[in-house]
């Protein structure tokens, strides 16, 4: 049990610093095209054990988001999105529950449930995260078009990063 906790802690530390020190510095803009934020760290919430208590998902999301906000100079923005992601996870997991349930599945990852399942799961969660994050960031419903465009482009790059991470650190 302890080693499992250690692994999740290590993943959090790695994803956190990769997000704030590397991905934050990457500006994917060409002239007037300026719609991409690369977000990878919510993968930590996605990969917590299936049995994780719901309040831990919510509180853990909040704390991780607050930490990222500290580096992004955006108090509350990442925190609200990550809290939402933690809250959303149990509902998505039960919606995507495979035949036979999650009995033999420790964490909802690509290696345990297959690539197709994981892409669906990660896509729903990431779109949820990005939509809340960008809405909170823009903070005016009037700019819904901008919010949707930013969500779409950020999602395409972010899901590629998630899959890259999974193929490197979680091969079959």
């Amino acid at each position: 049990m302890n080693s499992i906790g250690f692994r999740h802690g290590l993943r959090l530390v790695f994803l956190f610093f990769f997000q704030v020190l590397v991905l934050k510095q990457v500006h994917l803009n060409w002239g007037d095209f300026n719609y991409i934020s690369i977000i990878l760290y919510p993968l930590w919430i996605l990969l917590l054990p299936v049995q994780t208590a719901r309040w831990i998902l919510v509180a853990g999301g909040f704390l991780a988001g607050l930490g990222v906000d500290w580096f992004y100079d955006s108090p509350g923005v990442h925190a609200s999105a990550a809290t939402f992601t933690g809250f959303l996870r149990p509902f998505i997991l039960s919606y995507l529950e495979p035949r036979g349930g999650y009995n033999r599945v420790p964490i909802p990852s690509k290696a345990h449930l297959g690539l197709n399942w994981f892409v669906t799961y990660a896509s729903i969660m990431l779109i949820g995260y990005l939509f809340i994050y960008i809405s909170m960031e823009v903070f005016t419903p009037a700019l819904l078009g901008t919010i949707l465009v930013k969500t779409l482009f950020s999602f395409i790059i972010s899901i590629l990063m998630v899959l890259l991470y999974m193929f490197i650190f979680d091969p079959k």
Binding site: L21, V22, K24, Q25, H27, L28, N29, G31, D32, F33, N34, Y35, I36, S37, A53, R54, W55, L57, V58, A59, F62, G65, L66, D69, W70, F71, Y72, D73, S74, P75, G76, V77, A79, S80, T83, F84, G86, F87, M136, E137, V138, F139, L143, T146, K150
Partner: protein
């Protein structure tokens, strides 16, 4: 009673979720009101130092452009100096010329952390209170304006970029001195809008926009060029698009400007608003 406890226990995560979302939104809103959140920003030593280390690596990739820009600025300044040196030596009288008394003090700084893709972009620079930077000092680069200092750490400061929904800079059309407000509509990092220029003013595509004397920036600092100036039917003000001279995605060497007259101007303004 037991059922009630069971109910709360079962749905504790929903309450926790709602409370934490409330806290988050409170943080977002309080920041928009007036930078009251003194924690959670990158001007502190830990975040600032980490960013400076990372930035040392990134800087290598832009050395050539940086050198070219600095050399260009040097040559321009040397030209100005040469003009001053050649002034006629016949006038030898000495007068105390208060017209040219210094108002602005500049400090060179480097951007160690930057963003452009968000609605509210913020930078970190590697100069802080220890280096003599004032709170609410302005930040420019030779080709354009960059932003305002908002949080002052000991060795770092956080700068609200002009690419921020809370940023509002008084700017004017250079040719006619008509004033308006420079704001960022939120998409392209190169395009800003100038608001509140009345429709009777003479504004043409191609005009240069510079900072006005109402702003805290030194008056006349270049900002950008007008690419679109239209009047929507029924509106009393122009819809003006400005293409910035500087690309904030590549901003690296900046000047932080302390305004020596700021406290006097502020106390006058305070006097005005109290009456």
């Amino acid at each position: 009673m037991q059922n009630l406890f069971a109910f709360f226990y079962r749905y504790a995560f929903v309450f926790l979720f709602l409370i934490l979302e409330f806290v988050s939104i409170r943080l977002i809103v309080s920041r928009n009101e007036n930078q009251r959140t003194i924690f959670l920003n990158s001007s502190n030593l830990i975040v600032g130092t980490l960013y400076e280390r990372m930035d040392a690596v990134r800087k290598y990739f832009g050395l050539r452009q940086d050198n070219a820009a600095l050399a260009e600025e040097n040559s321009r300044l040397k030209n100005q100096l040469a003009n001053l040196m050649n002034a006629s030596p016949l006038i030898t009288d000495s007068i105390t010329d208060t017209v040219y008394r210094q108002r602005f003090v500049m400090h060179a700084a480097q951007v160690v952390n930057n963003s452009i893709e968000r609605r509210n972009n913020v930078m970190t620079i590697n100069k802080g209170a220890r280096d003599g930077i004032d709170k609410y000092a302005t930040v420019v680069e030779p080709t354009g304006i960059v932003g305002f200092v908002t949080h002052l750490g000991i060795r770092y400061a956080t700068v609200m970029s002009i690419l921020n929904s809370n940023s509002r800079v008084s700017a004017m059309v250079k040719r006619t001195s008509t004033r308006g407000n420079l704001v960022w509509p939120g998409n392209s990092p190169l395009i800003m809008n100038v608001e509140a220029i009345p429709k009777h003013a003479d504004v043409r595509v191609g005009d240069t926009i510079v900072t006005s004397s109402f702003s805290h920036f030194p008056a006349g600092h270049p900002v950008g060029e007008i690419t679109k100036a239209t009047i929507e039917p029924g509106e009393n003000f122009y819809l003006i698009e400005v293409r910035l001279f500087n690309d904030l995605a590549r901003t690296n060497h900046v000047y932080v400007i302390n305004d020596l007259h700021k406290s006097e101007l502020d106390s006058l303004n305070q006097f005005n608003t109290q009456k």
